[in-house]
């Protein structure tokens, strides 16, 4: 588990995820009228196959560094007040949260756009990997199933 908190970002890779209220409290700023929080949740299917659970591996130090870049870029681009990326690792069963992304911004549109932008960047660049445990008792790392 690795974590970094500054005035404007909170990044955590691994470990237990905090309560949403704590994340919201961290990102909100008096000049920001919008807080947007996204949770990535293990869902019970993927590409038509039943899923029981996911397991996440990560390169903690580089994941932290990449998240720092992603937040810095998004903060400038969308005028964010603050942002958080919190990603757990290990097993995450169906219905449980693997990742929280949260931002604040003066206006609502930027908050939602920033969240989508940050998630896309995470899925492209942050070294975290997902292994799927299927209902038929087989398993596969995502990259074994071809490029996304």
């Amino acid at each position: 588990m690795t974590e970094e908190r500054t005035d404007t970002h909170w990044i955590q890779i691994g470990g237990l995820l905090p309560e949403l209220g704590e994340v919201s409290g961290f990102v909100r700023r008096d000049h920001c009228g919008a807080v947007n929080l996204f949770e990535g949740v293990t869902r019970n299917h993927d590409s038509g196959r039943g899923v029981e659970s996911l397991y996440y591996d990560s390169y903690d130090e580089m994941a932290l560094a990449e998240c720092r870049k992603i937040i810095g870029d998004a903060a400038r681009r969308f005028g964010l007040g603050a942002a958080a990326i919190l990603h757990t690792t290990g097993e995450v069963p169906v219905g449980r949260t693997s990742m929280i992304v949260a931002v604040s911004s003066p206006h609502r549109k930027e908050s939602c756009e920033a969240v989508l932008h940050i998630i896309a960047a995470i899925k492209r660049d942050v070294p975290v990997w997902k292994k799927e445990f299927f209902s038929d008792a087989t398993t596969a790392w995502k990259e074994e199933r071809g490029r996304k």
Binding site: D57, H87, P127, K131, W141, E143, R147
Partner: protein, 100 residues
């Protein structure tokens, strides 16, 4: 992580070539196939990321399979194939990520 040879760098053919030690890190499917998450790897001074990958292909079959999709991280940042590696560098082989 000390070089095993202290003489000045020579050509690749020179048996007195300076040797550097690199830390390799494996994750996800590659860690499973490799059977470990990190290891030290000796290489000639001046080696590039691409040349290191060529060397690994010779001894790690699964690496060849995934290589077209691998990005490399050097000391916690993405690095291109032409990057020259230094003694003590930490190199990660990053198959397509799937966080979120």
């Amino acid at each position: 992580m000390q070089p095993v040879s202290t003489n000045e760098s020579g050509s690749l053919q020179n048996p007195e070539t300076e040797i550097i030690s690199l830390k390799l890190r494996w994750f996800s499917v590659l860690a499973e196939k490799r059977g470990r998450r990190e290891e030290f790897h000796k290489a000639e001074k001046g080696i590039t990321v691409e040349k290191l990958m060529d060397e690994l292909e010779k001894e790690f079959d699964a690496f060849t399979l995934y290589r077209p999709h691998i990005r490399t991280g050097v000391n916690n940042a993405y690095a291109g194939p032409d990057m020259v590696l230094s003694d003590g560098d930490e190199i990660a082989f990053i198959t397509p990520v799937s966080g979120g």
